[in-house]
């Protein structure tokens, strides 16, 4: 039984400028992401992977092509409907965290819920639950300036999850983090995968991309390579790393 994909893109194109200065950021991209799948998009800088993510997340309108989310076409929606979509169905995680400095962690997390009209008590409860799930219960009342990079990004992920989104989009989530913080975020993504969350992540960091189900390489706006990293009966061969003969 083939389940219909959670995210589907067909013939996506994104152009900037016109005439001689036309830049094609995304060039005829087709993509299907099944529910619960984690897909990583990699490529050199300027290859268009962030633009692709913006298109999938409704932050940008494509010059051509279609984007479908859970069976609903989203590339032609009006601004208000798009906002509602971003509130309920899509969770975005940015490289620079993008938390509001003057709100505490729990206030940041409940922000999308309040925007979406959820009652403040419910929103607060859900936010606290999420922070607990991500190991940040002690930091709920702290301002973002008082949190470490890893903690901030985890707050940002909690914020992205509060609407129970159908897909989580992450743009270089570990780009601003050091090694320890990266591992913190990695654990979160691992747990999300186990919980069946659909994730599309763009990253330079092979640590994140290596834990995905599928890896897609982009260059000059187009897909050039695809690798399936899980499934297919792959057995970890750790001993090879240590140099022991099995």
């Amino acid at each position: 039984m083939t389940q219909s994909p959670m995210v589907r893109a067909r013939g996506l194109r994104l152009d900037y400028g016109a005439g001689a200065s036309l830049v094609r950021a995304v060039d005829e991209v087709d993509l299907e992401v099944a529910a619960g799948e984690t897909v990583a998009v990699v490529g050199p800088s300027g290859c268009g992977k962030s633009s692709l993510l913006h298109l999938l997340g409704g932050l940008e309108r494509p010059s051509a092509g279609e984007v479908w989310l859970a069976g609903q076409r989203i590339d032609r929606l009006r601004e208000t409907a798009m906002a509602r979509l971003r509130n309920h169905a899509i969770g975005f995680v940015f490289q620079a965290f993008e938390l509001i400095d003057e709100l505490t962690a729990v206030e940041n997390v409940e922000l999308p819920a309040l925007l979406g009209g959820v009652a403040s008590r419910t929103a607060r409860r859900r936010a606290v639950e999420l922070l607990e799930r991500l190991g940040l219960a002690q930091r709920a009342g702290h301002l973002s300036a008082q949190l470490s990079g890893g903690q901030r990004q985890r707050v940002a992920i909690a914020r992205a999850l509060i609407g129970d989104p159908q897909v989580l989009l992450a743009d270089e989530p570990t780009g601003n983090l050091d090694s320890t913080a990266t591992v913190e975020v990695l654990r979160v993504f691992d747990e999300l995968r186990a919980a069946g969350q659909t994730v599309i992540v763009v990253s330079h960091d092979s640590r994140i991309t290596a834990t995905a189900d599928r890896l897609v390489c982009m260059r000059d706006g187009a897909f050039v390579d695809e690798t399936r990293l899980t499934g297919g009966g792959h057995r970890p061969n750790l001993g090879a790393m240590a140099g022991w003969e099995a």
Partner: protein, 587 residues
């Protein structure tokens, strides 16, 4: 609802995040509203007291005054003339000289009964009605003399006491109508008579139809006496209010414009700051409408708070400038602030704020999410021609020109601020000169040496000018500070390449002075032109405008430049002397 709580939370936190900017916003509006409140209270634009006076004093429909002598038959016949319902008087009118507080002026004394009259019983606003030895002075005259109940005065050399102050609708207030009016007992007035005293009589009439008063008055005026309908008296009094009102309105418009310009720059800077936040909110699903409301709410909350503070401050400050007891007729202790003042002040604050924030807020709400997220602060403008031109100038002016050109909106604010302020100063000066030198009444003993009317207008003009100057000073400081912060890096770089701190601080000052000079120069003719407009609106186009002497205009110009320099030099000095490495390191 959760969304509203979120909105309030975001607004309050954002205001707290940048306390300096929020304070500046607040101060601009508060200064404007305070000045406006004081001006309105002074100008007495609160309500038209005249109709109230007429009602309270049972004002006459027609006042008939004789020209000396007592044509008994005619005056006797008037109360029975067709259209006349009632009459009161005739009252003896003796013109004599009054001395009070070292001043001397001619007055008309009207002999009255202690018992109240049916028509035109003056309403006492302070003290009590006439008694033997005690006179009541008309309020306009009392204000001009500065007398209060209990003061001792002399009439024709004889000592009297001021029993009270009253208003009437039977006669225009002093100095619109001169000589001023004093009510006195009949017995006392007889003391003032002698062989060469000028006497007249005044008769008050109530008509069956008050609207018919002008016709009646026209029909019954002869060369021995004239009849004045109540409409004429009202209009005469209105002139005074009108003149004040015009000055107030013009000054307020200038104030409002300046406040608008200041706010626009402040709002622009603040919105640029908030772009990232807007992008983030949109990315998590805020609608454009929510963003627009959020932005507007922030500024409107500040505006309303500042308006309230301005009203309170104005309420506290106004009595210092107005005479005590100068409240509305019939209610001496009535507050200076009425519902209409509150409405006007709040309305102005909201209007200015909306004017400054509506368009940028809507534009900000509509920005694409990505562009807002990726938003860097607006980079300074590049002007190749300015760069080429300034290359030929000495170092300080070079720096100054380029610094000013980096932020054109700020430069425009500086120019506008100075131009408006200088214009207002010139208007105030011109008013002063015109009223004092072109005063046709000088030499007429019915008028005091100083003109209460002129005083009032000057007061209003001065208050507005002071408000404008303070606002302009605040603007100058803000622009200076913002320029210094903005130019720290290029200035440090300039110093790293050999500019001395003195050159840099001179450059920072020059950045302010370069727009200041043309602004001040333009402000002078602008002010003169504006004054002509004021005069025309006030209906006094016949009045010859007396331009202030050249030396006073020149001193305004020089004073402005000196003030700008003083406001910018010290901060510029401080800013220019920070160690270069420190500046370059922290950026």
């Amino acid at each position: 609802m959760g969304r509203i709580r979120l909105l309030i939370r975001l607004v309050i936190r954002d205001l707290r995040r940048r306390p300096g900017q929020s304070a500046m916003l607040f101060l601009v509006i508060a200064a404007t509203t305070t000045t406006l409140t004081v001006g309105l209270a002074l100008g007495g634009v609160t309500a038209s007291p005249w109709d109230h006076t007429r009602a309270v004093t049972a004002g006459p429909d027609v006042t008939v005054t004789t020209n000396g002598g007592y044509p008994a038959a005619f005056l006797a016949g008037l109360p029975n003339a067709p259209g006349v319902r009632a009459a009161a008087g005739p009252y003896l009118l003796v013109t004599t000289s009054l001395r009070a507080r070292g001043q001397r002026v001619d007055v008309d004394t009207e002999a009255r009964d202690v018992r109240p009259a049916a028509i035109d019983q003056p309403a006492v606003t302070a003290g009590s009605w006439i008694r033997p030895g005690g006179v009541v002075i008309e309020r306009g005259l009392a204000d001009a003399l500065g007398v209060t109940p209990g003061d001792r005065i002399t009439l024709k050399g004889r000592p009297f006491q001021v029993a009270g102050i009253a208003v009437t609708a039977a006669r225009a207030t002093y100095p619109n109508n001169a000589p001023g009016l004093v009510w006195i007992t009949t017995a006392d007035s007889l003391q003032l008579l002698d062989a060469d005293t000028t006497v007249a009589y005044v008769l008050n009439l109530r008509l069956a139809s008050p609207d018919a008063a002008p016709a009646f008055a026209a029909a019954h005026t002869t060369d021995t006496f004239f009849a004045t309908p109540w409409q004429d008296i009202r209009d005469e009094d209105a002139v005074l209010v009108l003149a004040e009102r015009v000055v107030l309105v013009v000054g307020s418009w200038l104030l409002g414009l300046l406040a608008l310009a200041s706010l626009a720059v402040l709002v622009g800077a603040r919105l640029a700051d908030q772009a990232r936040r807007i992008g983030l909110l949109k990315a998590v699903g805020a609608t454009s409408r929510f963003i627009a409301v959020l932005l507007l709410a922030e500024y409107l909350i500040v505006a309303l708070a500042a308006a309230v503070v301005g009203l309170v401050a104005g309420r506290l400050a106004a009595p210092l400038l107005t005479n005590p007891g100068a409240g509305l007729v019939g209610a001496p202790d009535a507050p200076l602030i009425t519902a209409s003042t509150v409405a006007i002040v709040i309305g102005v604050a909201v209007a200015i704020t909306c004017g400054a924030t509506l368009v940028p807020a809507l534009r900000g709400a509509r920005t694409s999410t990505l562009r807002a997220l990726a938003h860097a602060a607006t980079p300074p403008r590049r002007h190749p021609r300015v760069n080429a031109l300034s290359a030929k100038l000495p170092a300080s002016l070079l720096l100054g020109m380029r610094l000013a050109a980096r932020r054109p909106r700020r430069a425009v604010l500086s120019v506008a601020s100075l131009l408006i302020t200088v214009a207002m100063i010139v208007v105030a000066l011109t008013i002063q000169h015109t009223l004092s030198t072109a005063n046709p009444q000088l030499g007429n003993s019915a008028y005091l040496a100083h003109n209460a009317f002129a005083d009032k207008i000057n007061q209003v003009a001065t208050v507005l000018t002071v408000g404008l100057v303070l606002l302009a000073a605040a603007n100058a400081l803000f622009v200076t500070w913002a320029t210094i912060v903005d130019s720290r890096r290029p200035a440090a770089l300039a110093r790293a390449f050999g500019a001395t701190p003195r050159q840099v601080s001179a450059g920072l000052s020059a950045a302010q002075l370069i727009p200041a000079l043309p602004a001040a120069l333009l402000g002078i003719p602008a002010g003169l032109g504006l004054f002509n407009v004021v005069i025309t609106i006030a209906g006094g186009s016949g009045t010859s405008v007396v331009t202030p002497p050249t030396w006073s205009l020149a001193s305004v110009l020089v004073g402005t430049l000196v003030a700008v320099m003083a406001l910018t030099l010290l901060p510029a000095r401080i800013g220019a002397n920070r160690p270069v490495a420190e500046v370059l390191r922290t950026e």
